[in-house]
């Protein structure tokens, strides 16, 4: 078999060669689409807000989706996973819910704006933010984090699990050990990791971990997860109805997950995410191997094009299936435009909402063109992209 999962029926309806999986997965598996439609039709009531049959069916959708996500992510108690609107909300919640003026944090230079912008706001309020520089491949080194953490009292270490620019996988387990040995919390932006790599949160021993639902996990847009270690007291950002708890009380319920889920949940999104999680539970090992094989072909092919510089770990180093490149012959925006218009290839140019990361690898001024493979990608897609870029830059 040469194709990635989903390259069959789902691809027959494709209108382009889609290589922007780092932004969002597409096409969605039919199981995910069916789950979303089912949630909006057969189970369209408000979950947890009533005990009639359809409301219970909706509540069970949410319940089973949370369990599937917990199983996939190695979370022993599903209540420690809160459904949120996306990884950006999860990052905001874990940062703003934990950090207070006077705190000092150590953060990697590869972070996405979902982390750097909340930290900017917090820094204006008195949180000290010290950045640890990653190397030119986008990899953060645990020794550098350790030196930074030991320099001053540190409330938290913040690091992505994988880069949305270079695909580098960060040594989160080692960094978490360093954080904990020095009395700091370990907070992780896992937007690019779950699905594309096996994420075992119990083994990683992190304190908070933000998850995107619509990227590697194949759910619809508008849903994500935040894992919080048992007992970690993170202030909620929103207050409101939760369905359960003592409705007559003025204060927000403090139990999980309701504390972090005020308001009517995104039931269709949650149902779709649950379907994606179940697919990964069933096929994860096989699918990841296929993604990696297709991605290696992409990386090797792009690296061989004259004048192209590919950023990221070496081909034999572990990474998620994302790379960025520049050419000495054409600007990145022009490459992305022409790949789309002439060849029907969907990729993204620019800074990918990660100016810190581009500054780290030296592309802040030029931007880069990013390619990401995932569910539905094929070896033929990759071959077409390599041939197209070769022709464009000839």
């Amino acid at each position: 078999m040469t194709d990635a999962p989903g390259a069959g029926a789902a691809n027959s309806a494709r209108s382009c060669i889609y290589l922007d999986h780092s932004a969002t997965s597409w096409p969605k598996p039919p199981e995910v689409v069916d789950a979303v439609v089912n949630a909006m039709t057969a189970c369209g009531a408000n979950p947890g807000r009533g005990a009639y049959s359809m409301a219970l069916a909706a509540a069970r959708l949410v319940f089973e989706s949370r369990r599937a996500c917990a199983d996939l992510l190695g979370v022993p108690d599903a209540r420690d996973l809160a459904f949120v609107s996306g990884c950006t909300e999860a990052c905001n919640l874990m940062l703003k819910g934990l950090l207070v003026p006077g705190d000092r944090v150590v953060v990697s230079s590869m972070e996405h704006n979902a982390v750097s912008r909340p930290l900017h706001v917090l820094s204006l309020g008195g949180v000290r933010v010290d950045i640890v520089q990653a190397d030119a491949t986008g990899t953060v080194h645990a020794g550098d984090v350790e030196r930074a953490v030991r320099a001053h009292a540190t409330r938290a270490v913040i690091c992505q699990h994988a880069s949305n620019v270079t695909g580098a996988i960060q040594p989160i387990g080692d960094i978490a050990d360093i954080a904990h040995e020095n009395g700091a919390l370990m907070l992780v932006d896992g937007a690019q990791a779950a699905g594309h790599m096996n994420v075992d949160l119990a083994a990683l021993d992190v304190d908070a971990y933000a998850v995107s639902g619509h990227k590697g996990l194949l759910g619809p847009q508008g849903v994500g997860l935040l894992y919080l270690r048992p007992g970690l007291d993170v202030a909620e950002l929103l207050q409101g109805g939760t369905g359960g708890g003592s409705s007559e009380e003025e204060s927000q319920p403090q139990g999980r997950p309701e504390r972090y889920e005020a308001g009517t949940p995104n039931t269709p999104g949650i149902a779709g995410l649950g379907a994606g999680a179940r697919l990964w539970l069933a096929h994860g090992e096989e699918w990841r191997a296929q993604e990696q094989r297709i991605f290696r072909g992409l990386k090797e092919g792009m690296s061989a094009i004259p004048g192209v510089t590919v950023f990221g770990p070496a081909s034999d180093e572990p990474c998620v299936p994302t790379l960025s490149l520049v050419s000495d012959r054409m600007d990145c925006d022009r490459i992305a435009f022409l790949l789309d218009r002439r060849y029907g290839i969907a990729v993204r140019s620019g800074l990918h909402c990660a100016p810190w990361a581009h500054r780290t690898i030296g592309t802040l001024e030029t931007g880069a063109v990013r390619f990401g493979v995932g569910y539905g990608s094929t070896s033929d897609d990759v071959a077409a992209a390599i041939a197209a870029l070769t022709e464009l830059l000839a």
Binding site: A51, R66, A78, G245, E258
Partner: protein
């Protein structure tokens, strides 16, 4: 004529998630359970509660204890 009455035991939980987890645990333990709107007597601990036959109450409470989901409140109620 006096209407026939029966009784049931209602269990309340801290959250909808806990109530559904408890329903799953009881089903796995072979205890017949029905999800009901939370009776007022339980103090509105949750929007939903679990209904169990009194004859199964001991087995239910044992199963919930094993599952780590002890009810936050319970009451035996006349089912008129």
């Amino acid at each position: 004529m006096t209407p026939a009455t029966s009784r049931f035991v209602a269990y309340g939980f801290a959250s909808v998630h806990d109530a559904l987890a408890a329903e799953s645990a009881l089903a796995s333990a072979g205890v017949a359970v029905i999800v009901i709107p939370s009776p007022r007597v339980l103090g509105e601990l949750c929007g939903i509660a679990l209904r169990v036959d009194p004859a199964s109450a001991r087995a239910a409470e044992s199963a919930l204890e094993v599952a780590g989901l002890p009810p936050r409140a319970s009451a035996e109620i006349d089912d008129l």
